[in-house]
């Protein structure tokens, strides 16, 4: 993809972004979207790879997301208490905090966790396969690396980011609410508090949540796959330049899409 010269012993740094990388990423993203709707794409190895990566990016991330959501819920509760003390308007403060949680904190936090775990796994697996010439072997057997490696990873990461964001949105307010009940700050029944939370989120919140989380997961997967498969430097590249570049690119795309969708909805 980008033809980087390799100096003896020094891996050539990958630029954080370049017009060529952006065009390549857009092209691969379009190809993934086009291929995903073709039934012939979903052959057995592609389905198996999708399920394998759903387990890695989804199931195995549940503990990390749950703990993060509990901590975020407790943090939000402390913020609510602080602002309650400062301003003294209970309902509005709760509404603002929950809206920020659903629209901004949840997708971004789960996105960051996805970059740190699944994104780095993709970078490591695919760059190793490229460096060892295994992509040529797949091509020679008629196994398109886009279908077999890129598409299932990108789509699994997109779907698992959505599911984990829903988990985050469910756990964080629950943790905050349980802590508030335990501290005696809230005296309403639990079901009433939950209904309040659900109504506060509102239709825009329900719209933006899947939109953001699916897009963020998709773009993280895409950035990681394209970076890993770039024709860059040699074996040392992964540790020294590829992982930081991939991390930065995925983070950049996450922030851009998060900002754009927040502005739109």
């Amino acid at each position: 993809m980008t033809g980087q010269a390799v100096k003896a012993g020094k891996p050539a740094p990958l630029p954080p972004w370049s017009p060529r990388w952006i065009v390549t990423t857009a092209a691969v993203g379009t190809a993934v979207l086009r291929q995903m709707v073709r039934p012939v794409t979903w052959r057995r190895p592609v389905r198996m790879e999708f399920m394998r990566f759903m387990a890695i990016s989804g199931l195995q991330s549940i503990p990390a997301v749950t703990i993060t959501a509990v901590l975020a819920g407790l943090g939000l509760l402390s913020q609510a208490l602080y602002w309650l003390e400062q301003v003294g308007q209970n309902d509005e403060i709760t509404q603002i905090i929950l809206t920020i949680l659903v629209r901004e904190v949840a997708p971004l936090t789960v996105g960051l966790l996805a970059i740190g775990r699944s994104g780095l796994i993709i970078l490591s697996e695919l760059s190793r396969m490229r460096e060892e010439g295994r992509l040529r072997a797949l091509d020679a057997q008629g196994l398109d690396p886009l279908l077999l490696l890129v598409l299932p990873r990108v789509l699994a990461l997109s779907l698992s980011t959505f599911c984990l964001t829903i988990l985050f949105v469910a756990v964080a307010p629950l943790a905050g609410m349980l802590a508030a009940l335990a501290l005696g700050i809230v005296r309403q029944p639990v079901d009433q508090v939950l209904l309040n939370i659900l109504s506060i989120i509102g239709s825009a919140g329900y719209l933006i949540l899947p939109l953001k989380s699916l897009s963020i997961g998709f773009l993280i997967g895409l950035a990681a796959c394209v970076t890993a498969l770039e024709q860059g430097a040699g074996r040392d590249e992964a540790a020294t330049t590829l992982l930081p570049s991939g991390f930065f690119r995925a983070l950049l795309l996450t922030l851009v899409v998060n900002g754009l969708l927040s502005a739109m909805v």
């Binding site: 012939v40 052959r43 057995r44 190895p45 592609v46 198996m48 697996e125 190793r128 396969m129 060892e132 010439g133 295994r134 040529r136 072997a137 797949l138 091509d139 020679a140 057997q141 008629g142 196994l143 398109d144 077999l148």
Partner: protein, 221 residues
Amino acid sequence: MDQPPVLRFASTVLTDGLSVDLTLGPGELILIDPGDEEHERTIADAACGLAPPLQGTVSMLGRDWLKQQPDHANALRGRIGHSFRRGSWVPYLSLIDNILLPQLHHTTRPYAEIRDEANRLSAGFGLPGLPTVLPGQATASDLVRADLIRAFTGSPILVILEGPPADGIGPLVGAIRAVRDRDGAVLWFTLDPALWYEPAIPATRRYRLRGDTLVAEGDPR
């Protein structure tokens, strides 16, 4: 009706300037000494349509690789059994999954049927069963045999062997005979001069590099 050649290099000049002109008909085995690994990779890539030639055409079963849609080209490649010099395994899949991968992708054959066929081949190549370990955990000799099992699974019409080692010739010649008996063909690359001359290998023709041209044995060029 005459069958088209399984593989045809028609007056081709490949990407590294190599001239190749050969026809591999049904039931034939061609043994090639390409001089080095780079030339071997160039010819093998051109044979399965991965690297278009600078001049001439490369066709499989009468179909020019350059004129095939990507889906059709991949389907055609699915009929090639390919053994690679370094195995080239998907590192996170077990060897058995690696072996079955091309057939699972290109066909709708039941998993058990493909596995049974691969099991029969593994017995032929001297393995007690299909290896279930990851490629990184297998011994070098098991990897070589697993690579050959993968190449011959699924009744391929063309088998490309990139430098199989000299020490397992008996079972390999047996598997090649089975391919030739059903009108398939085999392209066997070797960098070992002793193997190239080996009379136990029933090659239809033997080619080796002379300058930048691949020349058949006995050709006065």
